[in-house]
């Protein structure tokens, strides 16, 4: 088999090995490439900046562990931005890891703001069953929707912040973090549309194409897409974190994939010319 024939049939184990090496080296020794900010990310940031101090923001943590690298950095950055402005957050969601994800973010951010207290500035209501039925109930009676307790089993009536948050009508902004369904469409359908509460979304990169129409139509006021968007948000709040560190790895991984695509196509072109057949 000639070189160009082999180029079309590179063993996938070689591809995987090179990918591991590329990612590992880039994460251990980041280069620190500059990151510019997209319009949609800026829109989400500006929307939070416009909120008056004391506003209650709902953090919809509707994602699972797979979305952590792309969404947790944005979640943390939003909380940092919000706590600087004395916003208050209630986190929860329709996915069963919602409480865990919110806890990861609060645990990371709270030491930066020692004055912020659980129950006063932040509440984690966690996962509540029901899917989009939960959202429907939260529109009228959030405490019943949350079954009266937070993620840790504490009664909501004992948490001062929850005495001001009875339903989505008390919320000034929704920032959702999504990796699938139920997701932003349910918030737009059940909350954004009927109540007019502004919604921004942070989603995994693969969901950006299908979410973009909602930004263009104004149903979402901003979109933080994938790890790139998370890195941009870290730039905006001036607290570089895991997303910024991960961008180098993502950049080199993309280059590796493009290199293999080029090699495969060169192999295809040169062997097609020789044999006259398509493969």
């Amino acid at each position: 088999m000639g070189f160009w024939e082999k180029a079309q049939q590179v063993d996938r184990r070689i591809i995987y090995t090179l990918m591991i090496i590329t990612l590992a080296v880039a994460m251990i020794k980041p280069v620190g490439l500059a990151i510019s900010v997209n319009k949609e990310t800026q829109m989400a940031y500006d929307a939070i900046e416009k909120l008056p101090a004391g506003s209650i923001v709902w953090l919809g943590c509707d994602f699972s562990a797979g979305g952590m690298p792309e969404l947790i950095p944005t979640l943390q950055s939003v909380m940092i931005q919000g706590f600087r402005k004395n916003l208050r957050f209630v986190a929860g969601g329709m996915w069963n890891m919602a409480g865990n994800m919110a806890e990861v973010a609060w645990t990371a951010v709270q030491p930066m703001f020692p004055g912020k207290k659980y129950g006063v500035d932040f509440v984690n209501v966690g996962y509540k069953a029901g899917g989009n039925v939960l959202l429907e109930k939260m529109v009228s009676d959030a405490h019943t929707a949350f079954v009266g307790v937070d993620h840790y089993g504490k009664p909501l009536k004992d948490l001062p912040l929850m005495n001001e948050f009875k339903s989505f009508k008390d919320i000034k902004f929704i920032f959702g973090f999504f990796t699938g369904t139920p997701g932003e469409r349910d918030y737009i359908k059940f909350v954004g549309g009927p109540l007019g509460v502004p919604i921004a979304s942070s989603c995994v990169a693969v969901s950006v194409p299908e979410t973009m129409p909602f930004v263009q139509s104004g149903q979402l006021v901003g979109l933080v897409g994938g790890m790139r968007g998370a890195a941009e948000y870290e730039v905006l709040v001036k607290v570089p974190g895991r997303a910024t560190a991960g961008m180098d790895a993502q950049a080199f991984a993309h280059l590796l994939i493009i290199a293999f695509i080029v090699i495969g196509n060169l192999g295809y072109v040169f062997t097609k010319g020789k044999s006259g057949k398509t493969t």
């Binding site: 996938r12 699972s64 797979g66 899917g131 990796t179 369904t181 549309g193 009927p194 194409p209 299908e210």
Partner: protein, 258 residues
Amino acid sequence: MIAKGLVSAFWLELVYCAAILVLISRSRKGLKVPTVYKVPGLDAMDEAIGRSTEMGRPVFYSPGIGDLQNAQTLASFTTLGYVARQCAKYDTGLIVANRISVVYPITEEIVKQAYATEGKPDSFVPDNVRFFSEDQFAYAAACVGVMHREHPAASILIGGFWAESLIFAEVGSQVGAIQIAGTANTHQIPFFVAACDYCLMGEEIYAAGAYLSKDPVLLGALIGQDWGKMVSVAMIVVGAILATVSPKANWLLTMLKQ
């Protein structure tokens, strides 16, 4: 009377559903229905099952990870019924992998009925219709394991798929299965197009029932879908012209926002 923000949606949906019902009624009366354009993915079903039969390997079927509320899962049941009947007819093994526990008894019943319809109730193997896990990636891992152990010659993935779609498609390719995939989730269609042999995009999975059965009544409903699309295209064209020419007096947008 109609909830705020849903007035236009209500009337549009009412008219659309009425059109479908009228066409179904016409089809029932035996009036001629146009033919449907060829959908390679659906035509390939028989080829895939035939390949499995010849190679003596099973067919792997996944109805997606959506629950019963998801129309894609309902569409998948129709395709599963057809695939199960074909597998029963040719004594080809069929493994059905379920993620949602509510979906599992339904798929089991569909496959069981298919074998009974083909006159082979004893050939139905209950253990071949399996529930794996409600967790998305636990389900994906289980399916990957099944594909590597059972080496299916055909992998049919019709329904609602999310992040695990590429995992199924790549592993199917690794084990040498012919792959027919279909989903209405736009974010996963590119992965299926890249990694599978045939891909049904969006509404094609809803047409499967009509296409495979050639039932004139179901074909009539398909025409209603096409009428709905033509109205949508007309609204898009008019809306685009209005948005360009007189953005402040866009009556169509105002009407749709009601």
